[in-house]
């Protein structure tokens, strides 16, 4: 354990990348998820079709493949670059892959939230003269979000754990599990304590998140 603790700065650095990956991916997944949902419920068949096709395809593709596609396909093979330095280039490609993947789950959660909103409220808003987008923005999404705070928390936790795939799936992004593997490879610390240490690190991040979202979902629940 001492050997592990003496390398704690490496551990902390690894987790700091995990957190960064999670934060950026969460932000983009959330925005893209809202867009996909808006398309999915829009009156325009083409938009509905595109959204459905996207969600159904990506959601049913293993994350590893999505990330490999971003890393090996778009980044390496096609030479598309998102940043000057290699470290940031792969970082942003990982964010792209994780967001593309996670947004589907955000969208599915939101859609289930939308389905809980009584149609009558939507009609009432329409009968006041609100446009489709005003209706979504002012009536539907705010209420849908409140009902899906819990599920969105689970999506976020899954995203945080999924960041570990980004280092193995061709991208070699820096994050906690990669740091762990490096520590094994270099033999700086005994395997078992290192495992336990990293597992605890993930728990330190995920458990409070779970509790926070549980608390929040009670807090914002809409009484009906």
């Amino acid at each position: 354990m001492e050997a592990f603790l003496s390398n704690i700065d490496k551990v902390v650095d690894g987790f700091s990348w995990t957190v960064r990956l999670t934060l950026f991916s969460a932000l983009f997944s959330f925005l893209l998820g809202i867009l996909l949902t808006a398309m999915r419920v829009s009156p325009v068949p083409l938009l509905r079709g595109v959204s459905t096709a996207y969600v159904e395809t990506i959601r049913n593709t293993p994350l590893t493949l999505v990330l490999l596609f971003c890393g090996l396909g778009l980044n390496s093979a096609l030479g598309l670059s998102l940043a000057g330095s290699v470290a940031w280039d792969v970082f942003w490609w990982a964010v792209v892959g994780l967001s593309a993947y996670t947004s589907c789950f955000v969208s599915e959660s939101l859609r289930s939230g939308i389905n809980t909103i009584p149609l009558g409220q939507v009609e009432a808003a329409r009968s006041l003269g609100l446009t489709f987008t005003q209706n979504l923005r002012l009536i539907v999404i705010p209420q849908a979000l409140r009902t899906v705070v819990g599920p969105l928390g689970s999506v976020l936790i899954a995203l945080l754990k999924n960041t570990t795939v980004a280092s193995v799936a061709g991208l070699g992004v820096q994050e906690a599990s990669r740091e762990m593997k490096l520590m094994f490879d270099q033999g700086i610390a005994p395997v078992l304590p290192t495992f336990v240490g990293f597992a605890i690190g993930f728990l330190i991040l995920t458990l409070p998140l779970g509790y926070f979202f549980g608390w929040l979902s009670k807090r914002v629940a809409v009484a009906r």
Partner: protein, 247 residues
Amino acid sequence: MTATPLVVLENVDKHFGELHVLRDINLSVNAGEVVVVIGPSGSGKSTLCRTINRLETIDTGRILLDGQPLPAEGRGLAKLRSDVGMVFQSFNLFAHKTVLQNITLGPIKVLGQSKAEANARGMELLERVRIAEQADKYPAQLSGGQQQRVAIARALAMNPKVILFDEPTSALDPEMVQEVLDVMTDLAREGMTMVVVTHEMGFARRAANRVVFMADGQIIEENTPDEFFTNPSSERARDFLSKILTH
């Protein structure tokens, strides 16, 4: 009073798939008039109401508001809807907004009123439906009768030309029906143009200028309330009245 038709339906037909829900409907409602629509379940009363603010489209025929055909979509449609108020059986208040916010949402977002202006007018309307003390509560904290009065205030806040009521009291406990009918009766007296689907005969007799009886998607009979309830001219209406009068 010179009769200016505010709402006109001309030869309106509508199907839901195979089902012919509105058959050649001709109806005209004058400004300031209160028309009660009555008829058996499934006769098309709700559908009739909903076509007037285009929550339902029609197959053939024309609907005019203030002499203008209903716009099909876009800004024009939104404007039309803000001119035609609607009060639903199930209140349909916005559950995540307070009572006052429910009322001010339309004026602020659709009519472009300032928040202060909309709040002032909102409170005025809440006074009018006798519920001002509940302004900061959420809909779920109110009784059904209170919610429905809020819904009426929400419709009034848009300064509509006409308000459609679709069975506004049928989801209410009996002791709350009167408080809602009282508010509606006041509105009728003040000259609001109203189309009201209801089986409340007391209200029809007190407030309506005309009763329209529907069955199977058709208007079977139109008459003054007194004449309709005491001496209906059609067999269908007699039959229907005997059923609702006996329970």
